[in-house]
Symmetry: C2
Subunit: 290 residues, 2 copies
């Protein structure tokens, strides 16, 4: 009975947001849509989604408001500006930010939401465009446990590994753990393969010796093989990864940590941004060593 399903506002219909919203639409939810450019919403509108000219107008119609935008500054403006989501959402609504953003901002949003009788969850994802398309995202959620329980059936329409990680900000913190692990791993992969190339080895054969052992990782299998092919098309764009690592480093420093590996990875990727390569995939880290 579609009428009994929560009404959803989905804000941000980019490469990730559009397929995520599409799963909810197909599941029968009444979908209220906003994105910076309407063109991104056309196929969802054709399938029954309802378009609004502002994010807040879409949010005003919904029981659940989901945001999937770009930068923490975008998230902050959406939620906390005057006339923004927290001002216009329906009493009792749950607002779920699935953008990878700062834990500190997630906490501020949750506090501001509570003041207004709303619930806010931070629920960043991993799994990329493929995970979004196949509804196989890992979703890491911070915030109130009751709100998580209410949101879970909806989140499970977009992901297969949906976990409540704790208080507000815990979802973002968990994503930062994920990105910190990836930062070191891809650094090792890029440097290992740079070593192999410089030593004149047959890199494909080296991969056959090392990929199944203690050096094995998703980064080695996926990004390592793209590096060897010289295929730098973005699965995950450098500019986004640099944003994430910057947030992680700030949060880690605020917690008294000195993450020298993360700093090194961020510095290496920053040289690629400086070289104008920020829209290539993270596997272009190999170019630092060419």
């Amino acid at each position: 009975m579609p009428d009994s399903l929560p009404k959803i506002a989905f804000i941000g219909l980019g490469l990730m947001g559009a397929p995520m919203a599409s799963h909810l639409l197909l599941a029968g939810h009444e979908m209220h849509l906003y994105s910076r450019s309407r063109s991104k919403a056309e196929s969802l509108i054709a399938a029954g989604g309802i378009w609004y000219n502002t994010a807040a107008a879409a949010a005003a119609k919904a029981d659940i408001v989901i945001t999937m935008v770009g930068l923490p500054s975008d998230v902050e403006a959406l939620y906390l500006s005057s006339g923004g989501l927290l001002d216009r959402a329906k009493p009792g609504a749950i607002l779920i930010d699935m953008t990878t953003s700062s834990p500190e901002l997630a906490i501020r949003i949750a506090e501001a939401a509570a003041v207004k009788g709303l619930s806010a969850l931070d629920a960043p994802v991993s799994g990329g465009v493929g995970g979004a398309a196949n509804a196989k995202l890992s979703i890491m959620v911070g915030g109130d446990g009751d709100a998580f329980a209410r949101a879970l059936p909806i989140l499970e329409k977009m992901g297969t590994n949906v976990r409540h990680q704790g208080e507000p900000g815990a979802g973002q913190h968990t994503k930062m753990v994920n990105q910190t692990v990836i930062a070191g791993t891809i650094l090792g992969v890029a440097e290992g393969l740079a070593y192999a190339k410089a030593a004149g080895l047959d890199c494909e054969r080296v991969m056959q010796s090392i990929a199944t052992g203690a050096a094995g990782s998703v980064q080695l299998n996926v990004m390592g093989n793209l590096m060897l092919k010289g295929d730098y098309n973005p699965g995950f764009m450098i500019t986004h990864f640099v944003k994430d690592m910057t947030i992680a480093l700030q949060a880690a420093t605020a917690n008294g940590l000195d993450l020298k590996g993360l700093k090194t990875a961020l510095a290496q990727f920053t040289t690629l941004v400086d070289a104008g390569l920020e829209r290539e995939g993270t596997q272009a880290l190999a170019k630092v060593y060419d």
Copy 2:
């Protein structure tokens, strides 16, 4: 017909060498043994191995000489000193160094061996004590192709992933690729989990969110979980890893590379050596961030 099998000298019966030699003994090879302390050889002697008081005396009896010792300086002394393996090995013998050692030394040994009508292979392994015990090592081989072909049936009694990687030194270079990838990966794992702990997250639950996605690796699954348990018993000792990273960094630098991630990992592990923790497992990298 055991009599038709090549006679093997096995030099170095430590945690890795003893189980490796045991597979060859069980396969019926006549085994000539030497290790710095005879006590390491007792069970192999009881099973039919023949003990010698010097490495060179053992080598003189064998068609295939295998060395599995500690440092490149040990390898150099064994092979290149006067009255050493190259002086005493039988004409036509194949000498296989399975120690993780320097590519440059492997090249020097291969050249010196050729002058004496001998063949030398560099064949370091990965897979650790477990891989040695189960004969499931990955073995990365450099050196003459014909010598590799002759050695292959013997190497396959110790490993499941035995590959000829190229000229003399290519086996050691491949192992250095492996160690360089691991260095970055374990750095990412340690820093990610340090972040999680400092942020007050439930680290086990974080692991459930991230281990199956893009952050996934053998290092995360194995060493990450040991870090969370606070179990620092060595699967792979810090002192050995520091040796390997030092060799890798020297070889990379000689090839014109600046591997900042590897340098960072080596510096972090070196702080643990300075703190007297060199005999703990590599997962004790977590302690840098405590």
